[in-house]
């Protein structure tokens, strides 16, 4: 420890012996104060200078404190000093010795909370207690309603009482764990001020940047033009194998197949047999061809995916994938650029279909279960070995 320079009291004493006695006594006092300082500074990280001056007032038993509501109370010095803020006030500014110079506590400390805090200090001050005892006390201590716990955390923080801040913070963390955002909001009376967009993180652009809106409008226009051009093309085309039906037609086609489950089965069988043949040839030539086409398309692609994605990324607040709120997707929110009348039609048809699925389920179940028996046999492939081999690749390591 470095030397602390105290001003040696001027002694009006010429006797060498007595001078020596006084020096020894003085050094003893310095030692004690150094020890006290070591103790306090370890607990509270107070600066050296704070500890440098120990006033005689320190030895008084009671300290006066004024809380946020204006009321003034006294508390044993020992206990008050446990709080670093109060300690500083006493030592640095010499406050608290009397009613008139009561220490003003921060706003966040109300009288009720203060007495709670002092209960805590009073318990932990006592040196003889075991860790187990202290832990048990702490656990009981934080059992209170959340509002009070928050006030306590806040007050402890303002008084810089770190052990209590840790204890209350952990208790708050335990309250928060395992809860949904709504529950947390309710418990802590927090505002629900994140917008739907911020919660769900859509791709659509949330900025007001006019350049981006213009860009989007231009692209939408270009897309519509291309669609038109293709529709015209399909009218002219002689071959039927390229399917350029509009979305409408597709959906009615799909819905139309509703009554014919066997239709699906047979197409699946055909597909399976076809695939079996293909499996034996290496379809590398096919993959090559498709790669080339893909490149060409991309090369002629007018979109610049990078730039738009970046812009959107930069301007929107992002959530990682697992942050997605488990909310039911609200169709109405999404503006995906499909012509609204068409969109409504799609929505209606899909909803209608869902309803139909639900309503005629019992009869359909019967139908399917009874027809299930004979269908089983047609699904088994005659090529037992290949079938098993394909299935067995399922068991590569762990299913």
């Amino acid at each position: 420890m470095e030397m602390i320079k105290f001003r040696l009291p001027v002694l009006v004493c010429n006797d060498l012996y007595w001078r020596r006695v006084i020096v020894v006594l003085w050094e003893f006092l310095i030692c004690c104060s150094k020890l006290a300082r070591f103790y306090f500074s370890n607990w509270f990280n107070m600066s050296e200078i704070d500890m440098a001056v120990i006033k005689p007032e320190m030895m008084r038993p009671y300290i006066w404190l004024e809380t946020s509501d204006g009321s003034i109370q006294q508390v044993e010095q020992e206990i008050a000093m446990y709080c670093p803020l109060i300690c500083k006030e006493i030592i640095q500014k010499g406050m608290g010795s009397s009613k008139s110079c009561a220490i003003c506590l921060p706003q966040r400390v109300s009288p009720a909370i203060l007495s709670l805090i002092f209960d805590y200090c009073r318990f932990h001050l006592v040196p003889g207690r075991s860790n187990k005892e202290r832990k048990s006390y702490d656990e009981k201590f934080v059992r209170m309603d959340t509002k009070r716990l928050c006030e306590l955390t806040s007050a402890a923080d303002s008084l810089q009482l770190k052990p209590l801040v840790d204890l209350t913070s952990r208790a708050l963390a335990r309250i928060i764990e395992g809860k949904s955002p709504e529950e947390i909001r309710e418990i802590f009376h927090l505002p629900d001020d994140l917008t739907e967009e911020e919660k769900l993180e859509p791709l659509k652009n949330t900025t007001d940047d006019p350049r981006i809106r213009l860009l989007n409008r231009l692209y939408a226009k270009k897309r519509k033009e291309l669609k038109e051009r293709e529709r015209l093309k399909s009218v002219e085309a002689e071959e039927e194998h390229v399917d350029k039906r509009s979305v409408d037609d597709l959906l009615s086609f799909i819905n139309g197949n509703d009554e014919d489950p066997k239709g699906i089965k047979t197409s699946k069988n055909k597909k399976k047999n076809r695939r079996k043949k293909e499996q034996h040839q290496k379809s590398s030539s096919l993959t090559e061809a498709s790669k080339v086409t893909k490149k060409e398309v991309n090369g002629q692609n007018i979109r610049h995916p990078n730039s738009e994605a970046d812009i959107i990324a930069e301007t929107s607040i992002s959530h990682t994938e697992d942050v997605f709120a488990h909310k039911e997707f609200d169709d109405g929110d999404i503006d995906d650029g499909i012509d609204p009348a068409l969109k409504e039609k799609i929505d209606r048809e899909v909803e209608d279909f869902a309803r139909r699925l639900n309503s005629d389920w019992p009869e359909r179940m019967q139908e399917l279960l009874s027809s299930g028996q004979e269908r089983k046999t047609t699904l088994f492939s005659p090529n037992g070995n290949g079938f098993l081999r394909r299935n067995a690749c399922m068991f590569f390591h762990c299913f």
Binding site: R108, C150, S154, V165, S169, R170, L172, I176, K179, P181, I184, I187, L190, D193, K199, E201, P202, L203, K204, Y219, H241, D243, V247, F253, I254, D258, K268, K291, V292, Q300, N301, R303, P305, E308, A309, A313, S318, E321, H326, E328, F329, I338, I346, V350, A354, L357, M365, L368, G372, R375, L379, F380, L388, N391, A392, C393, F395, F396, C398, F399
Partner: protein
């Protein structure tokens, strides 16, 4: 007024620092604007379940103080070779972005991703305090990349290459750990093909006093194991190398003595090519064992019984079906604390059963082990009655994966579908999170799953169901479903389109060899801009076939990063109208 109104930010941050789980952190960030802000600045760990759901830039922007990141790439069915080579899952853009943005990054955990040597070198150079590298089922790198990590990461604690495919050029990479390197806590090289320089390994083990996990590869000979063990007697988890050598008494006693010296050993694995007479060498540690992985050990039932009956504290057992019903009965009697059981098939391609393992083994374990939570069981026969019994015995099951080897196998007693058996499982096991189905199943089982599987998060289905109703039940009923993977089921467009909204609440949906048409994929892609609808078809562009033609494979996942740009030639993302540009029609 908010109770936390008076809190300064640091206090809230301090509260948040005690909250670690991803779900809780996500919940916090959705509470209100101020909590969102505070949380994002103090988030240190993030888990991205699908690397294409979000872009690196977005993650970096939102969490500027990250220290740890976990990413998953390919879908689970990649493990069964259903995802063609080259599909994607490249981690390079992530590493490149993080190298600039997160100089303090400490941990990278990847699963089913492709990582190159260049990325490994970049990691080694960019992150001064790099501590943890876990590559599970990854590929694309060689031992040169590992050498770079070894040479440059001064504070490395964990290097774990679980089940990755590594191009093993030379075992010399291990010697790149400098002599001053002592921080290793965990090393898993079990997937490497070549022998590592054993002397270098011995020296490494000797100077790392905190080493707790060591998983060796098959090439490490058994007679060198005692020496290695003596260098690190504090080991908690050990994976042996090959477990046989010529029979010599001194090898055995040496081995036994070395094992006796490992007083903390709790987990054992490895055991390639086991010579049963060497098994008793591990008996000194058996009483403390909590985890035993014998999935490579070709040991017959009597030897297995002898070994397992010495391990009363076993929590987790992975074993081949050589254990047979008798062994499982014994397990149920000896290991009352068992939590997880995995029984793998020794001969999955054989047409006839080669072992006496039936549903009875599983039933006896479900009776005898009250804390059993997680089951993966390969067998050849099952009955509804057995499943009912298991369900009633063990309502605390959280993971139940049953794999009856022959697809569409009915109840062997009644020849009925196994609907009611699986129905009992979902009905009674209310906390079931993961379920894999097999055997003969109709739409009814999906009705049960939709009705009762409210906590179900992951469902794997193969060769099951009769119609779209099945899929509809699952998508409309399972509120917490996150991952659904389906192969060879007669599910088509309707259920998918009717439940399109559900797909945005899930991480991903995989459907292969089903009946979903290209047209439906296009509609889905158009209607749902926050989904990537990937059509994987090795027959060529789907546009060259009619719209009602079913696609080979379909992978749908939610994303806020838009369509990905690194697709190979056999993958097409269905465009939504809000993204720019064309579908795959060429522009004239």
């Amino acid at each position: 007024m908010a109770y936390t109104f008076s809190f300064p930010e640091e206090v809230l941050e301090h509260v948040f620092s005690f909250i670690e789980s991803e779900r809780d952190r996500n919940a916090i960030s959705l509470v209100c604007k101020s909590w969102y802000e505070i949380e994002r600045w103090c988030r240190r760990k993030v888990f991205v379940g699908n690397c294409y759901a979000v872009s690196p830039v977005m993650v970096i922007k939102r969490f500027p103080e990250l220290r740890s990141i976990a990413l998953k790439g390919k879908p689970h069915f990649a493990d069964f070779n259903l995802v063609p080579e080259g599909w994607g899952g490249y981690v390079c853009p992530w590493i490149a972005a993080m190298a600039c943005a997160f100089p303090c990054l400490e941990e990278i955990r990847l699963k089913r991703m492709v990582i190159t040597d260049e990325s490994l070198e970049l990691i080694a150079k960019s992150f001064k305090n790099f501590k943890v590298l876990v590559l599970t089922s990854c590929e694309g790198f060689t031992t040169d990349g590992l050498a770079a990590i070894a040479a440059n990461c001064r504070n490395l604690k964990e290097l774990d290459l679980q089940e990755s495919e590594v191009d093993d050029l030379s075992g010399h990479w291990l010697s790149h750990f400098p002599d001053s390197f002592t921080s290793l806590v965990s090393l898993n090289i079990s997937c490497l093909g070549n022998e590592v320089t054993l002397s270098a390994l011995e020296r490494l083990l000797g100077r790392c006093p905190n080493l707790q996990t060591l998983r060796l590869n098959r090439a490490v000979p058994l007679d060198r194991l005692p020496n290695l063990l003596r260098r690190c007697p504090q080991l908690v988890e050990l994976g042996t190398g090959v477990y046989s050598t010529e029979m010599r008494p001194e090898v055995f006693s040496n081995l036994e003595a070395a094992f006796s010296g490992c007083k903390q050993l709790k987990s054992l694995s490895g055991f390639w090519d086991v010579l049963p007479s060497y098994l008793p060498a591990v008996y000194p540690v058996c009483s403390r064992l909590t985890s035993l992985n014998l999935s490579y050990a070709i040991i017959q039932s009597p030897d297995l019984i002898k070994l397992i009956s010495q391990c009363p504290n076993l929590l987790r057992l992975w074993v081949l079906d050589y254990i047979e019903d008798a062994g499982l009965y014994n397990l149920a009697a000896s290991c009352k604390d068992l939590r997880e059981l995995r029984v793998f098939p020794s001969d999955p391609f054989g047409l006839e059963p080669n072992v006496a393992l039936t549903e009875k083994g599983l039933v006896s374990v479900s009776e005898g082990c009250p804390r059993l939570q997680s089951v993966l069981y390969f067998c050849r026969q099952m009955s509804n009655a057995a499943l009912h019994t298991i369900a009633l015995n063990r309502p605390n099951l959280t993971r139940f994966r049953l794999c009856i080897i022959e697809p569409r196998t009915p109840d062997y007693l009644t020849h009925e579908p196994l609907d009611s058996g699986f129905g009992a499982i979902v009905e009674h096991c209310k906390d079931l999170q993961r379920l894999s189905l097999s055997g003969l199943l109709t739409d009814r089982v999906f009705e049960y799953i939709g009705t009762y599987g409210k906590k179900l998060e992951m469902l794997s289905v193969a060769f099951a169901g009769d119609s779209d109703l099945g899929l509809h039940h699952v998508l409309s009923g399972c509120d917490n479903l996150r991952k659904l993977e389906i192969r060879d089921c007669p599910f088509g467009d309707k259920a998918l389109l009717a439940n399109a909204a559900k797909l945005e609440t899930m991480r991903s949906l995989w459907m292969s060899s089903c009946s979903v048409s290209y047209g439906a994929c296009k509609v889905l892609g158009q209607k749902m801009p926050r989904l990537n609808v990937e059509v994987i078809d090795e027959r060529g562009p789907p546009d060259s076939r009619p719209d009602n033609c079913p696609v080979e494979k379909l992978y749908i996942y939610r994303t806020i990063a838009g369509p990905r740009l690194d697709m190979p030639g056999f993958v097409w993302t269905m465009e939504d109208d809000s993204s720019l540009g064309l579908s795959d029609h060429a522009v004239d």
